[in-house]
Amino acid sequence: MKLNAPVRFLLNAVLYTAIVVVLYLLYSPLNNHPKNKTGSSTQFVYQQF
């Protein structure tokens, strides 16, 4: 299925916004995991794996 340009633009805008928001949620300094020992805001992400 070939999407026309405005639809593709819209879908990309929605997709990129979702990605940016998810990255922000994961890496925000406010996302402080209770087991965080170093104070780093990225540690939460690693603790999930």
Binding site: A5, R8, F9, N12, A13, L15, Y16, T17, I19, V20, V21, Y24, L25, S28, P29, L30, N31, N32, K37, T38, G39, S40, S41, T42, Q43, Y46
Partner: protein, 393 residues
């Protein structure tokens, strides 16, 4: 080109703009800043700062009504007893004692906590308990990174970055953090900055290479501070220790506590409490000294003394003993313990040396097991504190 701009770059720009515009709403829905826990005005013992962040601003400050002596040490502080200084002294005197630490709170951990609060050090009454266990085996390698993080929170490390002058003490802090930096997974920006500070000090080429990283992380650290909220206002308060009309019958306390310790260790001649002695199955222990060149803990100790002397802290030290009946080769640690004493003597700092490697002259009953104080041992320490800080008239 136009297609790429319209289908990829413009949506990406929109996404970033949407995030910037809605970041406060997202924070409001998804995150709540942790509420500051209540502060106990009659605090006597603090295990660490990482789980008690509300006490960070109060560290080294006097309490509302009188002076507070800070007692810093490691595992010996965790044995709850009415004879421990943080119970014994506040129970009898207006002056309070707050114990800070548990196993692992060694010289560099203490050094870093004090450097972070170096502006409060002048005349601050501090007693540091030196455990011989820190200066042999792997412990002589210095404070473990995991223990360091328990006491030296991002708040304290940011205080070092913001307040500590660029002198040998700050350089030592950065160097020692760089020593164990690779052990830390996802270090906080404050740890990163102190590590970069050390790396960039190696040469002007290093300085040039690290400059952009330092600038970026400083900016990120500022952003982080804005998002997570300002730390609580630090309390900077000193009071005079007024000698009180309190008489303590030391001899009677010593006699009773020693007799009690004898009763508790009826199963052996080493004065080791029965429960602990049963665990040893009658086997004796050994110390494993290291050369001075490999003894990082000794170097940390010397820097700790230098810092406290330079900042004019009202500090005193207690050199703790090991049970020489249990540790057969105890005397092999004596040269290190003599160095500790010499360092304190040279700097004119008050100390109580309880080290004795001779089982025949050792004051049996001071220890409950093989390295931690019994009530009798604590009473000896209490007497030293009361005399050193003139708590009694």
């Amino acid at each position: 080109m136009k297609r790429i701009g319209l289908q990829y770059l413009l949506p990406a720009a929109i996404a970033v703009t949407v995030l910037f515009l809605s970041v406060k709403t997202i924070n409001g829905y998804c995150f709540t800043l942790p509420e500051s826990a209540e502060v106990n005005p009659n605090l006597r013992y603090l295990e660490n700062f990482s789980t008690n962040r509300q006490y960070e601003p109060l560290f080294l400050a006097a309490n509302d009504t009188s002076e507070t002596i800070y007692l810093m040490g490691s595992s010996e502080l965790t044995r709850t007893s009415s004879a421990a200084p943080y119970n014994f002294i506040p129970d009898r005197f207006q002056t309070k004692v707050v114990g800070i630490g548990h196993a692992g709170n060694q010289c560099f951990s203490i050094y870093s906590q004090l450097l972070a609060n170096q502006d409060k050090l002048e005349n601050a009454p501090i007693v540091i308990l030196l455990s011989p266990g820190w200066f042999h085996t792997h412990f002589s390698g210095g404070t473990a990174s995991s223990s360091f993080l328990e006491y030296n929170t991002p708040t304290f490390l940011n205080q070092v970055l913001a307040n500590a002058p660029q002198d040998e003490f700050r350089a030592y802090e950065a160097k020692r953090i760089a020593d164990f930096y690779t052990e830390i997974v996802n270090p906080d920006l404050s740890l990163k900055l102190l590590n970069y500070e050390y790396q960039s000090s190696k040469s002007f080429i290093h300085k040039g290479c690290y400059y952009p990283l330092i600038a970026l992380d400083k900016w990120l650290n500022q952003q982080k501070a804005q998002m997570t909220g300002k730390p609580l206002d630090r309390v900077h308060r000193r009071k005079m220790i007024a000698p009180e009309d309190v008489r303590v019958a030391w001899d009677s306390l010593f006699h009773t506590a020693k007799a009690e310790q004898r009763k508790r260790s009826a199963s052996n001649e080493l004065w080791i409490e029965d429960a602990f002695y049963a665990e040893t199955n009658g086997k004796l222990g050994e110390v494993f000294p290291v050369s001075d060149a490999n003894n990082t803990e000794l170097e940390d100790f010397k820097m700790l003394v230098k810092l406290l002397k330079a900042r004019k802290a009202n500090v005193s030290f207690v050199i703790m003993p090991l049970n020489p009946g249990y540790y057969e080769n105890c005397s092999e640690l004596t040269p290190v313990m003599k160095q500790l004493e010499q360092e304190l003597k040279t700097n004119g700092l008050p100390y109580l040396n309880m080290w004795n490697d001779n089982p025949k002259t050792f004051d049996n009953g001071i220890l409950s097991d093989v390295m931690h104080y019994s009530d009798y041992g604590w009473y000896r320490v209490n007497q030293f504190i009361v005399n050193t800080y003139h708590l009694s008239k």
